[in-house]
């Protein structure tokens, strides 16, 4: 657990460092501090990734990985953008749909016993196809009232949702289910042997990931005001990157969704840092790639140093 705390704090450290770097390049470039517009737009553009990253981190904590988040976000974006303007009730349907997609993954992983990466690779294709079916052409819309409540471009309503997500995680962490998630990630066979109903827990974890994707989709449509069947694709790799930067161990069992949230925000800030530091945009992904590796290396080095200290 201390180990876990330390790894998480790496995610926070990385976030702190990127935030400072952002402030520095921003002010030196524009000669003033960022305004509320900047903070707000960072908040609103990051929210979808934040949600996907939370879902992804849950799955990774159990030692799995969810590539299908891309497809789930796409389907939910498609449904949101095509239906919600007719009735807000559809939001519930979208959340249920996301959860169902996730639960399908969970069923296959937990009861079909197919490796998560393979299951979700296949369902990614299925969900993406579904999204294209629902919404062959980009478009659709979302009612203004919904926007104002979710991602109001003038007031930080997004903070409320971010806060709720954090509280949701903290509560989850303090349930037996939360403890079981860590137990499964730590060693699934042992967890089962000591009485953790592993299959049921995993089913729920994947379903939760689907729910998170659905939430992300709703926020996505809310910030962009309409939908696109390919919207989810970029989230596959960025959610994995967020989880990684946030210090969640890929082997499972260590880390926290809050780290992943920090990672998601840090990744967004990196885009801004590159923008304001005037780096040739063509080289942008070079720096993003380096950022990823360095952030994780820092985590590894810190963990190693800690282990050394403990052994001495």
């Amino acid at each position: 657990m201390r180990e876990a705390l330390r790894r998480v704090s790496i995610g926070y450290l990385v976030l702190a460092a990127t935030a400072v770097a952002y402030l520095v390049v921003y002010t030196s470039r524009l000669g003033r501090f960022p305004t509320s517009f900047d903070y707000l737009s960072i908040l609103n553009t990051t929210l979808p990734l934040v949600f996907v990253a939370i879902g992804q981190s849950l799955v990774v904590l159990t030692g799995g990985i969810d590539l299908s988040v891309g497809g789930m976000v796409s389907v939910c974006v498609a449904v949101t953008a095509t239906t919600v303007s007719s009735s807000v009730f559809w939001l519930v349907v979208v959340l249920a749909l996301g959860t169902a997609c996730g639960a399908l993954n969970g069923l296959i992983v937990a009861y079909g016993r197919i490796a998560p990466i393979l299951t979700t690779l296949a369902t990614l294709s299925i969900f993406t196809g579904l999204a294209l079916r629902v919404m062959p052409v980009p478009g659709g819309s979302i009612p203004q009232e919904v926007r104002l409540v979710l991602t109001n471009p003038a007031t930080p309503t997004g903070l409320i949702w971010l806060g709720l997500a954090v509280v949701g995680w903290l509560v989850l962490r303090r349930t037996r289910f939360g403890m079981r998630v860590y137990a499964i990630g730590s060693d699934e066979a042992s967890a089962r042997a000591v009485g953790v109903p592993a299959a049921a827990v995993k089913l729920k974890v994947y379903a939760l990931s689907g729910l998170c994707s659905a939430l992300a989709a709703v926020f996505y449509v809310s910030t962009t005001t309409s939908g696109d069947a390919n919207a989810g694709n970029p989230f596959i790799l960025t959610s994995i990157a967020s989880v990684v930067v946030g210090g969640v161990a890929f082997a499972g069992g260590r880390g926290s969704a809050l780290g992943a949230v920090a990672g998601a925000v840090a990744l967004t800030l990196v885009i801004d840092i590159l923008f304001f530091s005037g780096i040739d945009p063509l080289y942008q992904s070079l720096f993003q790639g380096l950022f990823l590796v360095v952030a994780v290396l820092l985590g590894t080095v810190a963990a190693l140093a800690a282990r050394r200290r403990r052994q001495a």
């Binding site: 737009s41 980009p138 471009p153 962009t224 005001t225 919207a231 923008f275 304001f276 942008q284």
Partner: protein, 340 residues
């Protein structure tokens, strides 16, 4: 290509180009001609240009546009990663009085202006050409673009309407070439053995790849309606064998320059806030002119319609502008937005 310094230089207006991905030669040319224009009068004296690429990631492009808003640019010229994904941030730019012009892959949000060719007509006209050449009888395949984008959809819609209206035409296969010659070639190669004789091919992008696949499979060359890839035009001109009977419609890369001009003119109050639809350049096998519509020394992937031509040309650009982004020698760039 670096963003402008913060201090506002007297008189100069700031116009940024936000492109999504330079995934093919078209995008590269589009940026090159933009850069070249910026280095030529009148832009070199009036405009402070910058260029950003976001990749196909909507949220990256959205962040970049937000940052451009913070920077206080006067106008933003956009080739969007998603027709819908940028609506929110574009609205914010509009709200702050920034002129937003999107082109090629345009943004839905109506507060911005658009510069484009008529994409539905694009699809229709190519399809009609094929129908006419085949006298309304024959097997046709459709090679589409990136699914889910606006341009792809409009072009397909235009084409399908035309084919459907001609009962003698049978669309025997439809698949995506991803607007990429290599992908189109691979997909076509894989398809051909399972297809009957093909009389007409309709291509949204990656045309030379499709033709090469027919050549490799030793199949009789059908009538081809496609984009403005130099390779396609080489076949049309007989510079490559077999000579292809075709029609080539270009989505002109200089849409970026027209957008630049529109943005400049609107900011300066010289032009009303109105979107522009320009005609697309059309070339057929019997009017190929080396050095003008086809370039024997340039690669196949090059888009040959980097400049407009003729007396009513919207803009005339030199080859270096398209290939290297260097200004055309000793010239003031004259962009004709048409009479509003």
């Amino acid at each position: 290509a670096t963003p402008a310094a913060s201090g506002k230089k007297a008189g100069k207006i700031k116009i940024a180009l936000s492109n999504s991905f330079i995934g093919n030669q078209w995008r590269v040319e589009m940026e090159n001609v933009y850069k070249a224009a910026c280095a030529m009068p009148p832009y070199v004296d009036q405009v402070e240009c910058s260029v950003f690429n976001a990749g196909n990631d909507v949220s990256t492009q959205s962040r970049q546009i937000s940052n451009l808003i913070s920077q206080g640019v006067d106008a933003i010229v956009i080739n969007a990663a998603s027709t819908s994904g940028l609506n929110g941030v574009v609205q914010q730019a509009c709200d702050r009085g920034i002129v937003v012009v999107s082109f090629d892959n345009i943004v839905d949000n109506k507060c911005g202006l658009t510069v484009n060719t008529d994409q539905i007509k694009f699809g229709q006209q190519l399809a009609q050409f094929i129908v006419d050449e085949l006298n309304g009888q024959g097997n046709v395949i459709m090679v589409t673009g990136v699914a889910g984008t606006g341009a792809d959809n409009d072009r397909n819609k235009g084409a399908k309407d035309v084919f459907a209206a001609n009962p003698g035409i049978k669309v025997v296969s439809t698949y995506t070439g991803m607007w990429d010659s290599a992908t189109a070639q691979r997909a076509t190669s894989a398809q051909l053995p399972n297809l009957p004789e093909i009389h007409g091919v309709w291509v949204s992008g990656g045309t030379d790849g499709v033709i090469k696949a027919f050549v490799a499979a030793k199949r009789p060359m059908p009538v081809v309606g496609g984009e403005a890839e130099n390779g396609f035009r080489k076949f049309m001109a007989g510079l490559l064998t077999p000579k292809v009977n075709g029609m080539s419609i270009g989505q002109p890369p200089f849409l970026s320059v027209i957008s630049l001009e529109l943005a400049r003119a609107v900011v300066k109050g010289e032009h009303p806030k109105e979107s522009i639809t320009i005609p697309f350049p059309v070339a057929t096998s019997d009017n190929m002119v080396p050095g003008e519509t086809v370039f024997p020394d340039l690669p196949d992937s090059f888009f040959a319609d980097f400049t407009d031509s003729g007396p009513n040309a919207t803009v005339i650009l030199c080859q270096e502008a398209a290939t290297d982004g260097t200004p055309c020698p000793g010239k003031t760039l004259d962009v004709n937005l048409g009479t509003p």
